[in-house]
Structures are given as C-alpha cells and as structure tokens.
C-alpha cells in the first residue's frame, strides 16, 4: 500500500501494537514448548531466568523410541511420494495442456473431483483396497493414494498452458519430438511451479497422520507423526518435558528448513494458492 495511506501517526501506532500483540500470542505456544524442552521437568511450568539448561530431555526421548527409524520412514515416504507425483502430474498436465485428445474435458473434470474428495476421507475403502493388494503396513501403501495428485496436475497444467506456442514450434523445427519438447522446454520453464508444489507436498506428507496411522502397525513402516503419537500416548505417562522435546524433534527438520528459506516457503504457498 502506498505511503499516503500508511503514515497516520496514532492510528498506525495502535495497529503496529495490535499486530505485534497478535504475533506474540501466535508464537507463544512454540516458545513455551521450546522452554519446556530445554529445561529440567521441575521447571516445565515454572518460569525463572536462572533455570538450568539441559539437552537431557532430547536424549531421553531419542532413546525411548526408535525415532531414527521413524525419521527414515518419513524421509522415504516423502521422497517416494514426491518423485511419483512429479512424474505422473507432469505427464498428465502435459496431456491436458497440449494434446486435444478425445474426452479431454470430461477427464479433466474427473481429475478435479479429487480436490473435493481427498484420499483423507476415503479411509475405509482404501484400507480395503490395500488389503486386497496385500500391501497393508508398507510405506508404499501410505503414499499410493496421494501419488496421482489433482492439485499437482492442475497447477502444472496452468503453467504449461502459459508456454508460448512459438517456443513449441521452434523446438519442433529443430527436430525435437514431443517428449524431448516436454523435457527441454516445458519442465525447465515450470521450475518455480515445481518448487512450489514440492514444498507444499513435502510439508503435507511430512505432517500427514490419520491415514498412516490406519495403514501401518510396525516400527519399520510408521512415519514420524505416528511414531510420535504412539510414543506420547503409551510410553511416557505425563512427563511433559520429554514429550515436548520429542514433539520439537519431529517438527525440527521442517521448522529449520522453513526458517532458512522463509521467503521461498511463503512465496511457494502463495503461488500454489493462486488459481
């Protein structure tokens, strides 16, 4: 907004105070969690400046459950899902953007159905299907329902449609076939969209919980969110310091990545949101 409407002394001062107050309220739960995690249990709800710092809670949480394995499972899940999504969505989006095939409009509407009816709500039937396929309790089964992503197809189709036809023609004159065209022209031009979609997808699947909870039941398949829930509900009783330490630990990779690439994250989410 222009400087003209901004600078209005008192009103602006009040607004700045309001904005900061809201920000402090918003960040407080995390600051609080961090406080609990780095202090001995006795200080978990006792705020004094000279409280001793400790990394003990993290060490105890790490030893109390196979978190290394949970992390590995999540990394496998997230990278497998994203890789499949990128390939499948690129091909489908290319078809929708550049091939006038029979039934294109109907198929596109059928793809968009998934924006409303997400795999998240089809848990009962998808469990039945996984059971029939014999892959219950596998990392593949967690990611499979999400691999053909309507959101990804939609986003990439919009981007591909903005590629100028002249570029298309020029490459064709050079003798490129349409798969080379996709790889050499469309994919590089859609880079920002890929980054945006990638970040949204990674944070979605890193955080996903209900479906992984249903479809997994062993240490070798459970992702970090399910591992955390099993850990905090069964093993720990009410030792909040350890639970918050484990909680921060599970969110740490995303949180650190977010703090480092904050602008990129926010812009990616923005890009993904503009339709």
């Amino acid at each position: 907004m222009s400087a003209a409407l901004e600078s209005r002394g008192l009103g602006r001062g009040i607004e700045t105070c309001g904005a900061w107050l809201l920000a402090v309220i918003w960040i407080l739960p995390l600051v609080y969690a961090a406080w609990t995690a780095v202090h001995p249990t006795a200080y978990s709800a006792h705020f004094v400046l000279d409280a001793p710092l400790t990394a003990d809670n993290f060490a105890r949480a790490w030893d109390a459950a196979p978190f290394a394995r949970f992390f590995l499972n999540t990394v496998l899940l997230v990278s497998m899902t994203l890789a499949a999504q990128l390939v499948l969505c690129t091909l489908a989006a290319y078809a929708f953007a550049r091939f006038a095939f029979f039934g294109r409009e109907v198929m596109f509407l059928l793809v968009l159905v998934q924006l409303m009816i997400m795999p998240d709500v089809l848990i009962v039937e998808n469990y039945r299907t996984m059971n029939a396929l014999g892959i219950v309790d596998s990392i593949l089964a967690i990611g499979l329902p999400y691999m053909a992503s309507a959101f990804g197809i939609f986003l990439l189709r919009q981007t591909f449609k903005t590629v100028p036809a002249e570029l298309d023609d020029a490459a064709r004159v050079e003798g490129a076939n349409f798969l080379q065209l996709l790889w050499k022209v469309y994919v590089p031009l859609a880079r920002p969209t890929y980054i945006a979609y990638g970040l949204v997808s990674v944070s979605y699947h890193w955080n996903n919980f209900l479906w992984p909870l249903i479809i997994t039941n062993s240490v070798t398949t459970r992702p970090i969110t399910v591992g955390l829930q099993v850990f905090s509900s069964v093993d720990q009783g009410i030792d909040w310091s350890i639970i918050t330490a484990a909680t921060l630990m599970t969110s740490a990779p995303l949180l650190v990545a977010f703090l480092l690439f904050q602008r990129q994250f926010v812009q990616s989410f923005m890009r993904a949101g503009i339709r």
């Binding site: 960040i27 499948l88 091909l91 198929m107 159905v113 709500v121 499979l144 955080n207 209900l210 955390l228």
Partner: protein
Amino acid sequence: MNRANMHVWGWLLLLPAAALLALFTHYPALATILHSLYSTARPNRPSRFIGLDQYATMLDDPVFHQVLWNNTIFALGTIPASIALALLMAVWVNDRLAGRGFLRLAYFTPTILPMIAVANIWMFFYTPDYGLVDQIAGLFGFARHNWLGSRDTVLGCLIVLTIWKEAGFFMIFYLAALQQMPPNLAEAAALEGASRWTFFRRVTFPLVMPTTLFVLINAVINSFRLVDHIVAMTKGGPDNASSLLLYYIFEVGFKYWDTGYAAALTVVLLALLAGLATAQFLYLDKRVHYR
C-alpha cells in the same frame, strides 16, 4: 504429429495418473455406496445385502446426531474466526509495519508444524492445575478446570487450537491477493481523504472476495477432513462431546471394525462434500457470466 497420434499420445500420457486416481478416488467413492448396502462380515456370518438398513440405524444413532452437531459447531467456530484473523494478518503483513518479517514468521509458523505435534503441545496448556491455561486463570482467581475432560469446554478448546493452526495458512492466500491489488487505488483513496477503515471496507474487502470464497471452501473441507488433534487429545471424548464425523468413521471402521456402517457414514460425508462442490461450481459459473 497427425490427429490420430494426438489422441493416442494424449491418453498414454494421462493413463498412469488416471489409473491411480480411478483406483484410489473414484472407485472408493462409488464402492463405499455399494458397501453401505451390505452388512459387515463377521466370522460366523458373511456379509449380505441389507438394503438401507445401515441408514435406518444411522437415523436412530444418537452418536451420529451428536457428531453432526459437533461438526457444525466446529465449522461455525473455526471458519469465520480464522478467515477474519487471516485477513487481518495479511493486511498487517502487507502494510510494511515495523518488523513485518517477524510478524509474517510468527503468523505462518503454526501452518508448517504437524497437527499431531501441535496437539501434543496444546494438550499441556489445557492440563488441569499444571497447564498454562489453569495457571493464568489461577492468577485471576479462577478455580481449576478440566478443560479437555469437560463436555462444556472440550470442543471450544479444539476450536481455539484449530484457529491458531489455520489462520496463518489462509493469510497466505489473502497476501497473494493483496499484492496483486494496483497501488494507485490506495493513492486515489488517500487523495480523497478516505480513512483506512473506509478503504478496507469499500475497496480491499470487495476486491479480495474471490479469495474469501476460495478460502471459505478450503476451510469447510478442512473442518471435515482434519481430525488428527482429536486422536491425540480427546479420542472424541468425553462422552463423544468432541467427536467429529470423520473421527466417528475412523472409530466405527477401525476400532469396532463395523465396515458396513462406516461405509454408510462415509456416504454422508461424501454427500456433504459433493454438495459443497456443486455450490462452488454454481458460484464459479455465475462469476464467469458476470465478466
């Protein structure tokens, strides 16, 4: 490429994605309708066709009525509040107030944390006696209260947590819309001597209306889709006071293993989402005509 090749290659490129979508979105959506007409298979009694019996059971099921009511309250409690806060946050962050980097960080951070982690942290706030809420209330002389253990407060606690988690996410969409607003609008308004409130009410708010509708639809979907915090914090209790429709489906399907009834409940959820999709479609249709 000739015309026939165009059709063949178009379909071949689409096929892998279409097959997976059909298997894990379209098939289950249709299969759940079919399966809702059959009884749940038990060891001594195979599944058989029972027509609409599951739905008759549903009409008489007090828990079903309760979760629908809870879901309505939950949606009404979370959606308007988080949308209003999101818009406020976006205006502030967009406005180059002092420290806007920190403001944006603070508002957005809850969005990227797993709901399950957030629920763990907030559970401690709501703990009787030791929890932050009781400690602060204690300073003002209020008696201790079992926030998550009482029928009257449990849903409210989940609503507050959800608003905190979602507002920053919706802020992003508003921020995108605000940044596309032409700056000369504000300059013109300043020349006219319009107050900031007038400008917001007469210019900003109408201009971001499409974003509001987009966010609204996402918020409604989320209120039916997200139950992670219920699993972590309350398990739907006490006495189903905090159970939502999807959580009830999860309970019926995977705790009582009554898959027939769970299928029927899923049909209700799908019908709600389909209704929402139709409403959105009709609205978008209208918007196209306006142009």
